[in-house]
């Protein structure tokens, strides 16, 4: 359904020097900075997949999304959505009917008017017949709880409410593909859950293909079976969550709260590097280990011997640590 073939994107921006002398020089020179935002990325996404697109800031996530939605043209390579290029002037018209986009940072709704008006206008823009429109609204209301918001001005909505509204607006025309760019940024836990549940439901009901870019590892773990990790414009990893765990090992974490302090160097030496110890900000000691390499038992025994334990938590593989590892490795 979506094909990205050896896509690269370079930007050239005029170079503005800082300071007084630099500002004068800028008046007369034409120096440019060339940045390669995306470097030879290829992947394919099939219908109905939910793909998480992870990368640090500036890694090239937004650029790729913009190319997939046709806002930017690749410098080289090709992107095909259902066989058509979204950035091509003629081919994009039909594609646009089938995609929906949510920008986490910006809204697509009319700020000063009641929510209902924005939806009505979208109905007209996408040419949705009235009865189908009503059905969609009902469906989206069940999913996201829109009815109480319909008469409120968009600018009076809280961030969580606005996000739900933006998500609904992007779905009103029943798109085949949904691009979500940081949809849960700044939201509290409850709203986040509601939105991720809604996304999951849409995918279940309509086989909507979903591409989700985010920083939030929890979102990825809850939603995506497949991950694409991008860093510095390069594709670092493309595979399922399960694969990642298998590849990087089954990392477990033990969190211990104690009044006693543990000598971290001594502890690390005691396990010959198989266990890493770290003090967290919330006062907990974190012991991370690869369950394939070492069992939990000796670690527990060690901790019980050294510390008076007030609280103990165990957690499985956290995606963030894996991703961190991948960044560190930077080659697979």
């Amino acid at each position: 359904m979506i094909e990205v073939n050896h896509v690269s994107k370079t930007f050239s921006k005029p170079y503005r020097e800082p300071g007084l002398a630099g500002a004068f020089r800028t008046l007369f020179t034409k120096k440019k900075i060339i940045t390669k935002a995306v470097d030879d990325i290829s992947f394919k996404v099939g219908e109905g997949e939910i793909v998480g697109y992870i990368g640090s800031n500036g890694a090239g996530k937004s650029t790729t999304i913009k190319m997939m939605t046709g806002i930017l043209t690749p410098t080289s390579g090709e992107i095909l959505i259902e066989g058509k290029r979204p950035y091509d002037h003629r081919e994009r018209k039909t594609i646009l009917q089938d995609i929906g986009v949510v920008f986490g940072q910006r809204t697509q709704l009319w700020w000063d008017l009641p929510l209902r008006d924005s939806f009505d206008l979208y109905r007209d823009i996408y040419g949705i017949p009235q009865d189908e429109y009503e059905q969609r609204l009902d469906y989206l209301d069940r999913l996201l709880g829109l009815k109480p918001l319909m008469l409120s001005q968009v600018k009076t909505l809280s961030l969580g409410q606005r996000m739900r509204a933006d998500l609904a607006a992007s779905l009103i025309h029943n798109p085949k593909i949904l691009f979500l760019d940081e949809p849960t940024i700044g939201l509290d836990v409850l709203v986040k859950e509601k939105i991720t549940e809604a996304i999951r439901q849409i995918n279940r009901d309509r086989h909507t293909t979903i591409i989700l870019t985010t920083h939030d590892m929890k979102d990825i773990q809850n939603l995506c079976k497949r991950l694409i990790i991008i860093d510095g414009g390069h594709l670092l990893y493309d595979g399922t969550l399960a694969d990642i765990k298998k590849r990087f090992g089954d990392i477990r974490h033990i969190f211990v709260l104690s009044r006693d302090r543990l000598d971290l160097d001594e502890a690390t030496k005691a396990f010959a590097g198989h266990v890493t110890f770290a003090m967290l900000d919330d006062g907990y000691l974190e012991a991370s280990y690869n369950a394939d390499e070492i069992g939990a038992d000796p670690i527990y025994k060690f901790l019980l011997a050294k510390l008076e334990i007030k609280d103990l938590k165990v957690d499985e593989t956290t995606l963030s640590s894996i991703v961190r590892k991948i960044y560190e490795a930077k080659s697979l």
């Binding site: 939605t69 930017l72 823009i125």
Partner: protein, 280 residues
Amino acid sequence: MRYLKLYPKYLKMALKTKLMYRADSFIGLLGLVFSNAATFLTLYLATLPVQSLGNWQFLNIMFLYGFLLLPMGLDHALTDRLWNYAGSLINEGELDRILMKPLNPLFQMCAELFQEGGVGEMLLGVLFMCVSGPFLHLDMSFNVVFPIVIGALFSPLIYFSIKLFMMSIAFYNGRSLALMSGVYNMKEFGKYPVSIYHNGTVVGGIIYNLLLFVLPFGLVGYLPLSAQMFPGERIPLLWFSIPANNYLIMGLIIGVAILQTAIAYLFFLHSLKRYSSAGA
């Protein structure tokens, strides 16, 4: 056509917003009325000692000014958002939202805002015409009025095409506001009878023709009204002169308007493509 059906919907949204902030909308309207009134008063004071400029008595000048405000106001009302795009909107990423929809981007850019000040300008124009018209013994025969009206329907395109062209430069530079306002403000000089430039000097001749062809603000009001008010005179054009025939002038207006709009639109499309390859 689809866009004809969609535009009223956009208009409704824009107007609803205006009505929500009635006081603000009114202030916006007043602002533009003030600006035009101030310009006109300056013109009045300047010509007071002499009472006329060439063939043009003060009342002729006032009528011209009023007439000009109609197409100018109409364009102003409908396409004002382009200024925002020349300014900051492109950098703020607003264009992405528009490109996402299966709808002509230029249509969206213009339709999202209705500038009530433009209506104020049109009303001011009607006022000026009503005040000065009765004293002028204008030729109101069908063959004069009809081409003038048709020409006036195409005239807003002249303002629009210039704005569009200048705004599209912003796709290259990030901001083209200063340039755009600079060129657009040349329209102010179409408010005086363009004949004042035709005074025998080379520079004057250049400006005269500039105002008739390149930035054809002179075409919008001066030419048709000149023909109406002074039908006997031939009007100089480039290195020759044309008879003061209203149909001829109407043809000229339509031709120039369509040509300029085509050029501007093509440039707009080209710049948009450039935006998508250079990014924000």
